[in-house]
Symmetry: C2
Subunit: 282 residues, 2 copies
Amino acid sequence: MEVIKTIKEMKEFSSQARRAGKTIAFVPTMGFFHDGHLSLMREGRRRCDLLIISLFVNPTQFGPNEDFKNYPRDFERDRKMAEEVGADVLFAPEASDMYPSNHQTIVRVEKVTQNLCGRSRPVHFQGVATVVLMLFEIVTPHAAIFGEKDYQQLVTIQQMVRDLHMRVEVVGMPTVREEDGLAMSSRNRYLLLEERKAALSLYRSLQKAKELLQKGERKAERILHEMKEIFQSEPLVKIDYVQICDAYSLQDVNQIEGDVVVALAAYLGKTRLIDNLIFHAL
Amino acid sequence: MEVIKTIKEMKEFSSQARRAGKTIAFVPTMGFFHDGHLSLMREGRRRCDLLIISLFVNPTQFGPNEDFKNYPRDFERDRKMAEEVGADVLFAPEASDMYPSNHQTIVRVEKVTQNLCGRSRPVHFQGVATVVLMLFEIVTPHAAIFGEKDYQQLVTIQQMVRDLHMRVEVVGMPTVREEDGLAMSSRNRYLLLEERKAALSLYRSLQKAKELLQKGERKAERILHEMKEIFQSEPLVKIDYVQICDAYSLQDVNQIEGDVVVALAAYLGKTRLIDNLIFHAL
């Protein structure tokens, strides 16, 4: 596996690969890999001739009071994991190369970024859309693999690619969970023992929603009510939102008819976690 | 020359050309070609194996009270001119294909679009940046040719390409003028006879600026003063702006030191014309 640190070299590598007729799978990450990342990488490995993984903790997708500085980093561990999964390139650019002084271009996906996490993280998705577009220009992938755990991010990237007529295929992969059900996240390592226990109520509430949906409940309000009862028994959980939205527009629904996402975000102490359930009502 | 009307076919053409190792020059236009367009096309023809011209009157770069509906159109004439200049493809997509319902992604270049035309046309440059990025994704050019007459547009596209790490080379070509000096523009055809005469004062004022600069004048204020005196003798000319700006940041300068652009916009009746002069002070 090659470690590439400059945009120039990464562009040259991908140009050469394209000229040689190779297909490129791409997994953009912020590092500190867990089994969720590995499932994306394995899917990329399976799909294309070459697998390129980027590792870049993107400053522009963090708000001023968020955890950019403390975001967990361990390059040596990540490098080994990427190598073991069979990646061809680990691309780890510098922020000063990605955003040289005088950088001033922003990509905004408007409607699908307004609701859910967009409410409490107003600059997050324009940071994500911009950096992902930049990475796509540098890496020129045929397929890019994202996790469904960050569901609004996945929808945002799919919408951007469609709107801008980009050629990359955007692939979503199911959330990978710990044995007890907690969605894997690099941020789980922030959790204190008691918080880790309380965090399981996020998964339990989604399981409750699934059970109700499978029984035929179609009133969002009733499902949300039962989910909130579960959190009320967990004083360490401060809910940011729990919503049921159309799976593509991400607008709230009352009467559930088509595909929906039951999505939530919550604080455990200072740690903000998200999780969701995708349900096909038809 | 092939006329292509769908994005799908255009993508297939450019993919195939790229796979065959051909280089692509691209001239994006809104049609109603004049000698200015032809000079861009000839430069594209000279630079690459293939020349692709797009013809698309992009609705999103017009403000609500601007001339989108009345913008001059003559497809048959444009088709012939593109053919004569030796284009390989004239790409003329439908707005409904470029912007399907639910389109919601916008590319904004922030600082260089604030001054000059950005003041009176607040949505113009995000419309331009977005459509040009879309066209670049569809056409995948090696080089894209723009006119210096739309100088702020050229700087905006150059900034966008640099910021997003795109691979296309953006080439600017000198303004082509009528025999008497009026900058060629598709909008010149709107001018009534008296307006056409008065419009020449735009060129005369830029010639005056050039003369002063060549004599060594470095105070922007003094140059602008003399330019304004020229317009004051033309009651049909309503100045929108006359400014001297740094040629790259497009911020106003007082003391002229490096490369500058002397830029102006004016109304003649309902017709808004722009022109500029690029001057290298060092």
